[in-house]
């Protein structure tokens, strides 16, 4: 425990000394929210027969997606890149000959990523609420629980890349590839109810799909089923077990 706390303290200090990486990770989510200003029609009500949704604007459906995108950006590109650079420069090799284990190194990275994730979510929501005037979630407790479990699932997915990427650039490249796939399952091009039913069903079994669909439900209808929680938990367990198994110090 002492080693994990010491590693987390050092990682936090290093992050505070070089916070630029967080801003890069925030870009995709902020760009999504910018659509409200550049794409015509995104702020007009969608209409239709469903009274719960008729008054909402397309940009509103992007808010849960943007929260998930901000999280994925940190968990899948930022965090693996940072571990990749440790491997590339021999920092991991040095840590590998001390009694500290791979799980502690990754755990400290998780702890410090939690700060970045919190900052990313807060910034995205601030833009959504104050600049675009979007609604707050109808079920904030469920939305919080989804964000917490979703963050663990996404970090576990990022851990597989972090466990093997030989360099920061390799981790970033691999992360970007996974990020693009998760963007599709998150419904970045077809948010909320706009996603075709078959793709929506398949996406529901991916960690990002499960998170955004559940978050969208918590936001606009207020009711969330148990399935997305099960999907995210299974992904979290499998991915972290795999990451610890394949972890390389060099």
């Amino acid at each position: 425990m002492r080693a994990t706390i010491a590693l987390t303290k050092v990682e936090t200090l290093l992050l505070l000394r070089n916070p630029t990486s967080i801003f890069m990770a925030l870009l995709p989510a902020l760009l999504l929210m910018l659509q409200a200003y550049v794409i015509p029609g995104t702020t007009n009500p969608v209409g239709g027969t469903d009274r719960a949704l008729a008054d909402l604007r397309p940009i509103d459906f992007f808010v849960p997606v943007a929260v998930a995108v901000a999280m994925a950006s940190i968990a899948i590109t930022n965090y693996p890149s940072s571990v990749g650079s440790y491997r590339e420069t021999g920092i991991l090799r040095r840590l590998g000959v001390t009694p500290v284990g791979a799980h502690r190194v990754l755990l400290a990275q998780w702890a410090v990523s939690a700060f970045s994730l919190g900052a990313a979510i807060l910034l995205t929501l601030s833009v959504a609420w104050f600049a675009i005037g979007t609604s707050t979630p109808r079920n904030p407790a469920a939305a919080t629980a989804i964000v917490l479990v979703g963050a663990i699932a996404m970090m576990a997915l990022g851990s597989i890349i972090a466990a093997v990427a030989p360099s920061a650039q390799a981790a970033y490249g691999l992360g970007l590839l996974v990020f693009m796939v998760t963007m599709f399952t998150a419904g970045i091009w077809t948010p909320g109810p706009l996603m075709p039913e078959t793709i929506r069903t398949i996406s529901a079994f991916t960690p990002m799909g499960a998170m955004t669909q559940a978050l969208t439900d918590a936001w606009f209808t207020g009711t969330v089923s148990l399935l997305p929680f099960i999907v995210m938990t299974v992904w979290a367990l499998l991915a972290s077990a795999l990451a610890i198994r394949v972890f390389r110090w060099t």
């Binding site: 050092v10 200090l13 290093l14 920092i91 090799r93 040095r94």
Partner: protein
Amino acid sequence: MPIISVESVRKTFGEVLAIDDLTFAVDENEIFGILGPNGAGKTTTVECIAGTITPDRGQVTVLGADPARQRSLVRERVGYQLQSTALPPALRVGEAMELFAAFYESPADVGSMLDLVGMTGERRRPFGKLSGGQQQRLSIALALVGQPQVAVFDELTTGLDPQGRRDAWQLIEQIRNRGITVILVTHFLDEAERLCDRIAIIDKGRSRFIGSPTELMDATPHASTSPHRLEDAYLRLLDQDTASTARGM
């Protein structure tokens, strides 16, 4: 009773044979040198002792334990300074020492370790701003902060200026005087002659000589008058091996 034993160890990386049938033992509180040309298998040998790679064949025992299987036990009691390692550039000297101290069950006092390596005044300096010599001195302090029984230094003085090398030599002698067994991987014959009680010369993954530097010099004819007796004896030994390999082809 040896504190480290390497018995008939073989390690290949794909098609490349790194070490083959390597056997030697290190006694308690000696300074044991591992020498050999580039690519001879010295670092692979050290990595087998560190448990970061597992031999294909043979047995490595460190303080009675298998370093590849009982990793945490061995790493608690062996301090390593490895080639091609680094720390985050923004991490300060004092922070690095406190961090590494937290990894061990009964760490040494960070202040006295910095004092030992002459870096008390650099406590707040970031790793990226240290000179090569200072980085090496810090890596010695980091290797010793867990109060190890064995310290392994892999090409510690490579890249240092003459004064830096002399300082590092003094430090190694002080470390041995504290009762720590030292394994020193080096390219420098003068370093081995000055510091090592015994040396192992490895070439093409096999051990060519194990004994004291004096034994190597005495075993080599025509070397007695040269001011570089150990270097002559070393080169002659490697020449003999090359010649016998060529004859065998």
